[in-house]
Amino acid sequence: MDYATLDDQTLIGLIVHRQPEALSVLYDRYSRLVYSLSLHMLGDDSAAEEVTLDVFKRVWQHAGSYRADRGSVSTWLSGIARNRTIDRIRRRRARPEGHSVALDAVAHRLHATTPEPERKAHLALQRERLHEALEGLPDEQREVLLLSYFGGLSQREIASALDLPLGTVKTRVRLGMEKLRDVFLGQDAVAEGD
């Protein structure tokens, strides 16, 4: 049986049943996603490697906590990766309330990335759609979404860092997320893993 043909949820089920090959295939599919996310946030490749290892070890230990009705496996993985990375950022840089030390470190990396050729076919289409969707947002909405997602900043911290009223930031976040949701959920569901 070739595990590479199984969909993500099936792999998770097999991981619960302690099948290392299923974890291996899941790693092949999503290590790049996890590592890239962490690296983009940390700017430190050995720290990003540690986070990546941590994420997949957690998958091995806690695959049973994945809930299909809460979202796709890839979202679950990127959520774990992001949380581990934010923990690491906070440990490294104790931040006083309202002071966004992470902003400087993140700002220079938040350039508009043009999509490089994506070798993993099952993510290529999603990536392209994401870029189109982001390009379709007003600059100020895109900016707050990326600062929040990759910088781990709260709306309050973003307002403080950009010297904007909190209400303005909240509105931009809400409108930006609403637009993105409409784009992604308006499309046919993209198959998870091929």
Partner: protein, 236 residues
């Protein structure tokens, strides 16, 4: 003080992780009680998850994978003790509803294939045995065979096929669930060059309400009803 009226407006920011602790806590509490908001949160969490792809994509070093696999232990997962109310589809049921003998039987019968259970948010399931249904190849595919493993809940199943010829890209195999002449779609799948295929089956009705199964060749993506050659069939 956060009012219920305004909580739904905070859901997108919550999904993004952009709320402070007090606000996040208020949303979390509300979502536990409000299924509509919980559904909306799921949509926004999926949306937020897509943002991960905005990062420049870089491969981790190859040795990281070796490190991961070498460090795995075979110990059982950190499962919740029976009786605790923590979420997790597995909960305390795995050791109970999956008797080892069934697993071995399946593994022997189906060339090292494993049964797995569909993930759902759950209450306790009825305990019971897995049901297996064997499908035999028709004249169009005499060497083919398949096994349908039906979960004790009777609602989900996994289909494993063997020795089905590979189709070209314009075609796929489609599973039909047959009840008194009416045919419901059980899903479409493609096979590996060796002819093995897998399909997680989500039936529109409890599986045991059907009396037979069939697999036909259809245009890629499937058809509303069977149009192509039948390759496998079996009775429930």
């Amino acid at each position: 003080m956060v009012e219920g009226l305004h909580v739904s407006e905070m859901i997108p920011a919550y999904a993004l992780g952009a709320l402070d602790e007090a606000e996040a806590s208020a949303v979390a509490q509300h979502v536990r009680r409000c299924p509509a908001c919980a559904a909306e949160l799921a949509e926004y969490e999926e949306t937020a998850g897509w943002l991960a792809l905005a990062a420049p994509q870089v491969d981790p070093p190859p040795q990281l994978k070796q490190q991961l696999l070498a460090g795995l232990d075979a110990a059982p997962p950190a499962a919740d003790a029976p009786g605790r109310s923590l979420p997790g589809w597995l909960s305390s049921l795995l050791p109970v509803w999956l008797p080892v003998s069934i697993v071995l039987l399946v593994m022997l019968a189906a060339s090292n294939l494993l049964l797995l259970q569909r993930m759902r948010g759950l209450e306790a399931r009825q305990q019971g045995e897995f049901m297996t249904v064997t499908l035999a190849g028709t004249d169009a595919a005499p060497a083919a065979s398949a096994v349908l493993l039906i979960d004790p809940d009777g609602e989900s199943a996994v289909l494993f096929t063997d020795a089905l010829p590979a189709l070209d890209l314009t075609q796929q195999y489609q599973l039909w669930l047959i009840d008194d002449g009416q045919r419901d779609n059980g899903g479409v799948f493609s096979v590996e060059p060796g002819g093995t295929g897998t399909l997680s089956v989500l039936a529109p009705r409890p599986l045991l309400e059907y009396d037979a199964l069939g697999i036909t060749i259809e245009p890629a993506g499937g058809s509303p009803g069977p149009t192509g050659q039948k390759v496998l069939g079996g009775d429930l």
